[in-house]
């Protein structure tokens, strides 16, 4: 089962875990990405995430399907937040359940690494003296 969500309200680790856990899976790995308070020593006040929603959802689904196939995952859950986020708010949750634990770790890492490369979501970091679109420039 694949479960993908992109939403502008707080994400729930418990909900993602519950969606992922399966009778056929002996290991569930849950990755939680949260907002950090600094970038290269500069204090971050908050973030904003913007998404090209239909394609962000379809790209997250592709990643989940690839992971499910490659690691025989019972369930892959990817929830991503959009809108304004404060420090320590959850930006993304990935939960993967597989028959054995090693595959769950690998599949979860694949999902977050690939999400950061392909999913059309953009992060704007706000500082006390301005804001930047993260990773836009080399």
């Amino acid at each position: 089962m694949i479960n993908i969500e992109l939403k502008d309200e707080p994400l729930s680790v418990e909900e993602c875990n519950d969606l992922a856990v399966s009778p056929t899976a002996g290991g569930t790995v849950v990755f939680v990405g949260t907002v950090r308070d600094q970038t290269k020593g500069k204090k971050v006040t908050h973030l904003e995430f913007e998404a090209y929603k239909p394609m962000a959802i379809s790209e997250m689904r592709k990643i989940a399907e690839q992971a499910a196939e490659k690691w025989q995952a019972a369930h892959v859950v990817i929830h991503h937040r959009v809108g304004k986020l404060d420090i320590t708010d959850i930006a993304v949750i990935i939960a993967v359940a597989t028959p054995h634990r090693k595959a769950a770790f690998e599949a979860c890492e694949y999902c977050i690494d690939t999400l950061k490369e392909t999913v059309p979501i953009w992060k704007k970091e706000f500082f006390e003296d301005g804001a930047v679109w993260v990773a836009a420039h080399p």
């Binding site: 394609m55 930006a91 977050i112 999913v119 953009w122 836009a136």
Partner: protein, 80 residues
């Protein structure tokens, strides 16, 4: 050919708006669109990457655009 494009993230800032009508001057493929964007708005050349999505899929440089396509500028992504 004129096409309407949609922009997100820093691309929206560069175009000073989320939508823009672009007259393609080099040809009708994705490569020509990128060239026109970089010629008209030099800030696009300074980005780490510049991708184009058509009808919700990433497309290669040789993809031929049609006026009815939903064309979206995808600057470097930074989700997660």
């Amino acid at each position: 050919m004129k096409i309407n494009i949609l922009a997100f993230g820093i691309a929206k800032d560069i175009l000073d708006g989320q939508t823009k009508e672009i007259e393609l001057s080099h040809g009708n493929d994705v490569k020509s669109l990128k060239q026109t964007l970089c010629d008209t708005f030099p800030e696009f050349s300074k980005l780490r990457s510049l991708s184009i999505a058509v009808n919700e899929e990433y497309r290669n440089d040789d993809y031929e655009l049609k006026e009815s396509d939903e064309v979206v500028i995808i600057p470097p992504v930074s989700g997660g």
